[in-house]
C-alpha cells in the first residue's frame, strides 16, 4: 500500500501542473481583469439613506396600489399620505421609533374612455386581495375560503367561462364591501412589516370620508429594518442615480444574486468551460499521455486529480470575484451578507457538473472543441429544464397546462442534475441576509426554497457527477494508449 503522503504530494504536483497550464493560457489573467472590473464597478455603487420622514413616505409608496405602473401607463389608484410624522428618539432613520398618521385616498383617474373615473372601493379591494396572498398559517378560515374561490375564478376566466366569472365578480364585490376596520388595520400592519420591516406597535383606524381612510400608527424598528429602508442608489461614484428610494437590501441582493449569481455566473461558467476543456485532451495527446502513464500513479487517480485541477480554476476565479464584490458591497452598503459567500461553493459545484461532462467527452474524443460544445449543450439543457420547471411549477395550481407537458417538465427535472435548483438554494441563503423577513420577494424565495430542498438536489446532482466521472475513469483505465 502506497503511503497517503505520496498520493497527496502527487495531487499537489498535478494541481500545480494544472495551474501552470492555466496561467500559461493567459485566460486566468483575463478573468482576473474582468473580475477586477466587476469589483471596481461594484465599488462605484453608492447608497445614501433617506431621512426618517422621507423614508417612511417612500415605504408607504410601496403599499399595494400606491405605485404607478409606468410600463402600462397606469397611475397609482391609491395615495398613501404621511401626516403628523414624529420621530420619538434620536437614532438613525432605520433605527427610529415613529409616530405618524397614514391617510389613504382613492384617486380619480382617467378611465378607458378618457373621462375621469373614481377608484372608489380600490383600497378595500387591495385589502381583500392581500388577504388572499397571506401566509397559510396567518389566514383565517374566511381568508382560506376566499382564496379557494379566487383560484377557481382564475381558472374559469382562463377557460373563458364568462358567466361564472360575472357571477363571481358580484360575489367579490360583496366581499370587498364587507371588509372590516380590523381587516384594514391588519392590512396596514402587515404592509408596514412587509415593506418597511417595521414593528407596528399600534395601528388605529379613524373613520373619515367615503374615499379616504385614516390610520394613526406607532412603529418600532427591527434589526433588519435597514434592509428595506429606502436609500438613494448611485452608480459610477455618484455620477448616475439608479434609484431614489428603493430598499437597500433588495438592491444589494439584485447585484449579488441576479447580476453576479446569474449573469456573471453564466459568463464564468462559459469561460471556465472553454479554458478547462483543453486540460483532458491535452493530457491525452500522444507523446504526453505516455509519459504520465509510465509514472507510478493509478490512471483513475490521475484523471480525478486533473478534474479537481479544473475545478480549482473555477474555484479561484469565483473566490476572487465573489469575495471582492461581497467585500466592497458590504463596505459601501453597511449590509454584511455572509450567505453570499456560499455561492463560491455553489458556483464551483455547478461547474463541476459541466466539467464532469467535459471530462467524459474529453477522455472519449480527446477533442477540446467537442468538450466545449458538450459542456455548453449540457448547460443549455439544464438551464432550459430548470427554467421550464420553475414556470410550470409556478402555475401548477391553476391547472392551465396540458398534463403531458407538466409531466415532461416534472420528469426532466426529477432525473436531471438540478442546476437551477442550486441557484434557488444559494439565492435563498443570500436573501436571508438581505431581504426583509416579511417582504414579498423573500416570501416568494422561501416558497421556492421550501419546495426544493438541499438533500435531493445535491444527491441527484452528485450522483450524476459520480456516474460521469466513474465512466471517464473506467474508459481511461481500460483504454490502450
Amino acid at each position: 500500500m502506497r503511503s497517503l503522503t505520496q498520493y497527496v504530494l502527487k495531487f499537489f504536483a498535478i494541481l500545480k501542473d494544472s495551474l501552470q497550464e492555466t496561467l500559461d493560457s493567459k485566460v486566468l489573467y483575463a478573468m482576473f481583469v474582468l473580475s477586477g472590473l466587476a469589483i471596481l464597478a461594484a465599488a462605484s455603487i453608492g447608497f445614501e439613506p433617506k431621512s426618517g420622514e422621507k423614508g417612511v413616505e417612500a415605504i408607504l409608496r410601496r403599499f399595494p396600489g400606491g405605485k404607478a405602473n409606468p410600463f402600462i401607463g397606469a397611475e397609482a389608484p391609491l395615495k398613501y399620505e404621511l401626516q403628523d410624522f414624529k420621530q420619538t428618539d434620536e437614532k438613525k432613520p432605520w433605527d427610529g421609533d415613529y409616530r405618524f398618521t397614514i391617510v389613504v385616498r382613492e384617486q380619480t383617474l382617467p378611465g378607458p374612455d378618457g373621462k375621469p373615473q373614481s377608484a372608489k372601493g380600490m383600497f378595500r379591494l387591495m385589502i381583500y386581495a392581500s388577504s388572499l396572498e397571506m401566509d397559510e398559517d396567518k389566514m383565517t378560515d374566511d381568508d382560506r375560503q376566499a382564496r379557494k374561490r379566487m383560484i377557481q375564478l382564475q381558472r374559469d376566466a382562463a377557460r373563458g367561462q364568462n358567466e361564472k366569472v360575472e357571477e363571481f365578480m358580484k360575489k367579490i364585490e360583496q366581499e370587498v364591501n364587507a371588509v372590516t376596520p380590523a381587516q384594514m388595520e391588519r392590512f396596514i400592519s402587515n404592509q408596514l412589516a412587509a415593506q418597511g420591516t417595521m414593528v407596528p406597535k399600534t395601528v388605529h383606524y379613524a373613520p373619515s370620508g367615503s374615499d379616504t381612510a385614516r390610520f394613526e400608527v406607532e412603529t418600532l424598528p427591527r434589526a433588519e429594518t435597514i434592509r428595506t429602508w429606502p436609500h438613494k442608489m448611485t452608480l459610477g461614484f455618484g455620477s448616475y442615480t439608479w434609484s431614489e428610494d428603493t430598499p437597500i437590501g433588495s438592491e444589494v441582493f439584485l447585484i449579488e444574486d441576479v447580476v453576479i449569481g446569474g449573469f456573471g455566473a453564466g459568463v464564468a461558467m462559459l469561460l471556465a468551460s472553454v479554458v478547462t476543456s483543453f486540460y483532458i485532451p491535452n493530457m491525452l495527446r500522444k507523446g504526453t499521455v505516455d509519459l504520465l502513464l509510465a509514472k507510478p500513479i493509478p490512471r483513475w487517480l490521475l484523471l480525478l486529480y486533473k478534474y479537481v485541477g479544473g475545478l480549482l480554476f473555477m474555484f479561484l476565479n469565483t473566490i476572487v470575484v465573489v469575495v471582492g464584490i461581497w467585500l466592497v458591497l458590504s463596505l459601501r452598503s453597511g449590509l454584511w451578507a455572509p450567505g453570499f459567500l456560499l455561492s463560491i461553493f455553489v458556483l464551483t459545484f455547478q461547474f463541476s457538473i459541466f466539467y464532469a461532462v467535459s471530462t467524459a467527452v474529453g477522455v472519449t474524443t480527446r477533442s477540446p472543441i467537442v468538450c466545449i460544445l458538450a459542456a455548453c449543450f449540457a448547460w443549455a439543457i439544464l438551464f432550459a429544464v430548470g427554467w421550464s420547471y420553475r414556470v410550470v411549477d409556478g402555475i401548477r395550481e391553476l391547472d392551465l397546462l396540458p398534463q403531458a407537458l407538466v409531466k415532461t417538465a416534472d420528469t426532466a427535472h426529477l432525473i436531471l442534475p438540478r442546476y437551477k435548483d442550486l441557484d434557488v438554494l444559494s439565492g435563498n441563503v443570500t436573501a436571508r441576509d438581505l431581504l426583509g423577513p416579511d417582504s414579498p420577494e423573500r416570501k416568494a424565495m422561501d416558497k421556492s426554497y421550501n419546495k426544493t430542498g438541499w438533500g435531493q438536489t445535491l444527491g441527484i446532482t452528485i450522483a450524476y457527477i459520480v456516474v460521469l466521472l466513474g465512466f471517464s475513469c473506467w474508459w481511461f483505465t481500460t483504454k490502450d494508449y
Binding site: 504536483a13 507523446g287 505516455d290 509519459l291 502513464l293 509510465a294 507510478p296 481500460t478
Partner: protein
C-alpha cells in the same frame, strides 16, 4: 542548437548507485512469454518471447508497424497485453512500484510546453515520488548532463527539437532508474549530440543500468547495443548478441600502395573470388580457406600492403537481409508499384 546550451557531458556527475536490487549481469530484468497483443482483428504482437538481462543495452529493431513500440508500451503498462505474460523487475508489467525504478523516453514525445525544463522535471519527479530535496539536487545535475542547464528556466516551447530530445533523456534518467526504455533516443539530435548520447549510454551500462532501445538508426544501434532483436509484423524473426550477428562472412578488403596493380588473376588461380570495391579489392574465402596464401602472394611479388580488414556484416546488412527474407514490410507492395519499370 542554441549557443547557451552545452553538449551532453561524458563524465560525472551521473548517478550514484549502480542498482538498488543488487542484481548481477545475466540476471533477467525484463522478460516476456508468448506475448500477444490484439487490436480488434489486428494482431500487433504474435507471441513474443524475449529476455533482457541486467546491465545490457538491448536493441529492438523492426520496420514501421513491426510492434516495437507496442512491446515497450506493454512493458510500461501503457498498453495492456491480450495474452501471455510479461515481467519487469520481477513484477508483472504495470506494477506501480516498479515504475519508480524505470525511465522512459517515448517516441514523438510531446512535453507540455507551458513548463520550463526545470518545472517539467520537477513535475515528473514528483510523480515519480522523488523527495523535494532529491529533485532540487538531481534536476540541475541532469540538465547540466544533457547540456540544458543554461536554458532550464526557459519555456519548453522555445526549445529546438534536439533540446527537447535531450530534455526527454534527462527526464528518463533523473530518478536514477534501473531500467531505461528509450524509443528513438537520438531522433532530432545532431551528430555531436548523438556521440554524446552514445557515451552517456555506455556510462549508464557501466553503472549496471539496463537499457532498452528502439531505433531505426541501425548504425547507432550497432555502436551501442550488446544484443538485438529484429521484429516483423509482431514476431521476432531474429535475435542474438551483436558480435554474433555481425560476424565475419569470409570477406577481406585489401588495399595496395599507390600505382601498384593487384594481381587479381593470380589470386583467382589460387581459388579465391575477387571483386573490385572502390580503391580496394574484395577477396572472398571459400570453406576452409584462409587469407594467408593471398598475403604471401602479394609479398612475394614485392607489393606493399596498405590495407587489410576482415569485412564484417553490418547491422544494416543483417537487418535488410533478415526482413527481406521474411515477409515484406507493410509499405513494400505500394512502394514497388510506384517504382518505374
Amino acid at each position: 542548437m542554441a549557443s547557451d546550451t552545452h553538449g551532453i557531458q561524458t563524465g560525472p556527475p551521473l548517478s550514484s548507485s549502480t542498482s538498488s536490487s543488487g542484481a548481477r549481469p545475466g540476471v533477467p530484468v525484463l522478460s516476456t512469454q508468448n506475448l500477444i497483443k490484439n487490436y480488434g482483428k489486428i494482431e500487433a504482437l504474435k507471441g513474443v518471447t524475449l529476455t533482457v538481462n541486467k546491465g545490457e543495452i538491448f536493441g529492438l529493431l523492426g520496420q514501421n508497424g513491426a510492434g516495437k513500440t507496442t512491446l515497450v508500451k506493454i512493458m510500461l503498462g501503457i498498453t495492456k497485453l491480450s495474452y501471455g505474460g510479461a515481467e519487469l523487475l520481477d513484477e508483472p508489467v504495470g506494477h506501480p512500484q516498479v515504475l519508480t525504478r524505470v525511465g522512459y523516453l517515448p517516441e514523438d514525445h510531446r512535453f507540455p510546453d507551458y513548463h520550463t525544463g526545470y518545472s517539467l522535471l520537477d513535475f515528473y519527479g514528483s510523480l515519480l515520488e522523488m523527495p523535494r530535496a532529491a529533485r532540487q539536487k538531481s534536476i540541475p545535475e541532469m540538465l547540466e548532463l544533457v547540456g540544458l542547464k543554461g536554458r532550464m528556466n526557459y519555456k519548453i516551447r522555445t526549445y529546438s527539437k534536439g533540446m527537447k530530445q535531450r530534455l526527454g533523456i534527462a527526464q528518463a534518467l533523473m530518478h536514477d532508474p534501473e531500467v531505461i526504455f528509450l524509443d528513438e533516443p537520438t531522433d532530432g539530435v545532431d551528430p555531436v549530440g548523438r556521440k554524446e548520447i552514445r557515451a552517456l549510454l555506455h556510462r549508464l551500462k557501466d553503472q549496471g543500468k539496463t537499457i532498452f532501445i528502439n531505433s531505426h538508426l541501425l548504425g547507432e544501434v550497432e555502436l551501442i547495443c550488446d544484443r538485438v532483436v529484429i521484429m516483423q509484423r509482431g514476431e521476432i524473426i531474429r535475435q542474438g548478441d551483436m558480435a554474433t550477428l555481425t560476424q565475419s562472412r569470409g570477406f577481406y578488403l585489401i588495399g595496395l600502395a599507390p600505382r601498384q596493380d593487384f594481381p587479381q588473376d593470380d589470386v583467382r588461380k589460387l581459388g579465391y573470388n575477387v571483386a573490385r570495391d572502390g580503391d580496394f579489392w574484395e577477396v572472398a574465402l571459400k570453406e576452409g580457406q584462409t587469407i594467408d596464401p593471398v598475403i604471401d602472394l602479394l609479398r612475394g611479388r614485392g607489393l606493399n600492403l596498405r590495407h587489410l580488414t576482415e569485412k564484417r556484416q553490418s547491422l544494416e546488412d543483417l537487418f535488410i537481409q533478415t526482413v527481406e527474407a521474411a515477409e515484406p514490410g507493410v509499405d513494400q507492395p505500394v512502394r514497388r508499384r510506384r517504382l518505374p519499370q
